[in-house]
Each structure stands twice: as structure tokens, then as C-alpha cells.
């Protein structure tokens, strides 16, 4: 009897050891844990009407003009924020739209972001996952606004 208890105990010890070896790494934080991503969303109104290019757009203006054929680009808003891994940063857009950005992976210099734009009433307009290198910008646009469209320039640092 004593020997069977001893062997059971020994087996249990091995089971715990194996669980520790293989199980603990599952609970260890992965890369990016604890880091926050600085985010900016420049909300741009683009239309074919007079008004020119908003000088506050800075370097973005030239690329916008190479990308689109609108005659007017106006910066409506340029909110900044931050979000940690799997946390969501929300920005209210014109016409009761909502922008949500969630970092899903963070590594030195690169970020995976889920970008979700909701229309009025909460309807999902676009849900995209992008991978950005630090300092890069992605444009999400096309929603109609006034005489033109909304273009959101998203960058992460």
C-alpha cells in the first residue's frame, strides 16, 4: 500500500512538473504586453469644390493630391490618443460616425491594428486589420460627407 502511495505521489510530481514546463509559458505575457500605442486620426473632408488644401495637413497634403483628384482637402479634426494591447481607442466622427482602433499586436516598430468605422446607428461600415510600421499612415475613406467624402488618416507611434 505504502509503495503504491509513493508511486502515485511520484507520478503526481511528474505531472505537475510537466504541467509547469508546458503550461506556464501559455500564461506568460507575450511581446508587447504593457506597452501602449500612440495613435492619431486626422479626419479630412475631401470634395470637388473651392477651398484648396488645408495647410495644417502638412506632409500629408502632397500625398493626398497624388492619391485623389479632389480640389479641396480640409482637416476637420486631428485627435490623438493611446491604447494598450487589445484596448480600444474611440473617436467620434462627423455625422455620428464612430472610429475604433484596437492594437492587437505590438512589437518594436510594428503594430497590428483593428480599425472599425461605424455609421450612424452603429452599423458597421468597414472593419479592417492593418499592420503598420512606426510612422506610417493608412487612409480609410469613402464615407460620404456633405459634398464629398470623409478620409481618415491613421498613424501609430
Amino acid at each position: 500500500m505504502r509503495s503504491s502511495r509513493a508511486s502515485f505521489g511520484q507520478g503526481l510530481r511528474w505531472r505537475f512538473l510537466l504541467l509547469g514546463i508546458f503550461g506556464v509559458p501559455l500564461f506568460l505575457p507575450g511581446p508587447g504586453w504593457g506597452q501602449a500605442v500612440s495613435l492619431q486620426a486626422q479626419v479630412i473632408y475631401a470634395a470637388n469644390q473651392s477651398g484648396g488644401v488645408d495647410s495644417r495637413l502638412g506632409n500629408l497634403a502632397e500625398n493626398l493630391q497624388k492619391t485623389f483628384r479632389y480640389s479641396m482637402y480640409q482637416l476637420l479634426d486631428a485627435p490623438k490618443g493611446s491604447a494598450a494591447l487589445n484596448q480600444t481607442w474611440s473617436v467620434t466622427l462627423p455625422d455620428s460616425r464612430l472610429l475604433e482602433i484596437t492594437p492587437t499586436a505590438i512589437q518594436e516598430g510594428q503594430y497590428n491594428l483593428t480599425v472599425h468605422v461605424h455609421g450612424s446607428g452603429g452599423k458597421s461600415l468597414v472593419n479592417t486589420v492593418v499592420r503598420l510600421r512606426r510612422g506610417s499612415t493608412v487612409l480609410v475613406g469613402g464615407s460620404s460627407y456633405q459634398q464629398g467624402v470623409l478620409i481618415i488618416a491613421i498613424s501609430a507611434n
Partner: protein, 169 residues
Amino acid sequence: MAHWLHRLGGRGRRLAAYAAGELPPAERSSVEIALAACPVCRREVEACRLASLALRKSSRVGLTAEEAAAFLPEVNRRIDHGQVRATRPARPDLREILWDHPRLGLASAFAAALMIVGLTLSQWGPFVTTPGNGVEVVSVDVDEDGSVMVFEAPGSTLKVIWVFENSSS
């Protein structure tokens, strides 16, 4: 001393050379001292010597009388019929190459293992190198009434996710 240590520092090669009688006299005494202390080494040397001796004494093969008589006529026949085989030499296979370069084999195996581990980890991990403009669109979903286009305009560094809304949205 553990026998495996004897393989380090070229001692394995010295033992083999000693067994073949090719070791310079100056090195022989140090090998003999080592042999006195290592029974496994002594056995290796004995096996080496037996192999060499067996090779030298029992392997010589000659032509039989009939073969010898027919040899030159066959050579002449082949010369007269232009039977000089100009085939491309057969390349050594991988096994031969690894025999010649065992460290290459080890390094290749290690590199292969590293590659497999790296590829496996990269499958699990989220990161691959982003393209030149630093943006990669991994996935896009739109409302069932809409459609989307992802593009980069020539001359621009921007990647664009463009949604074509349904007029009702």
C-alpha cells in the same frame, strides 16, 4: 579520463595514425602513455590495425588466366570501335559530400532546424516584414451592402482602404 575526451584535440586522428604506423616517432610515446591509461583507446587501435592488416593481406585480386588473355584484345577492340565513353562524370550524392564535410552536415542540420523553428514561430507570431510604405492590409470586411477597394496610387506613399457605400447608409 572519459574516452570521449580522447576524441577532442585531434587525439582520435593521432590514434588512427598510430594504428596505421604513420605517426612521427616524437609523438608515439605520448600516444603510448595515453593508450596505457585508456582501454577503449587500446581496443580502437587494435581494431584499426586488424582492419589495415586484413586489407593488405587478403584483398589483392588479380585477373584469372582467361581474363588476362582476353584483356588486351578487348581493349584493342574498344579502341578500334571508338568505344571511348565520353559520359559526364557522375556527381557525388549528398551522403558523399557529408562524409567529406561532416561539419558541413552538422551545420546544415543546425541551420535546417533553426529554419524550421523560425518558420513555425513566424506562423504563430503576428509579424512579418511590412512592405516599403510600412502598411499592410491584413483583412477587410465591409457591410454586406458595400464594397471596398484597397489601393496605392502611383507616386504616393499612402495605402488606401476605400469603402463604396450603399446609398442607403
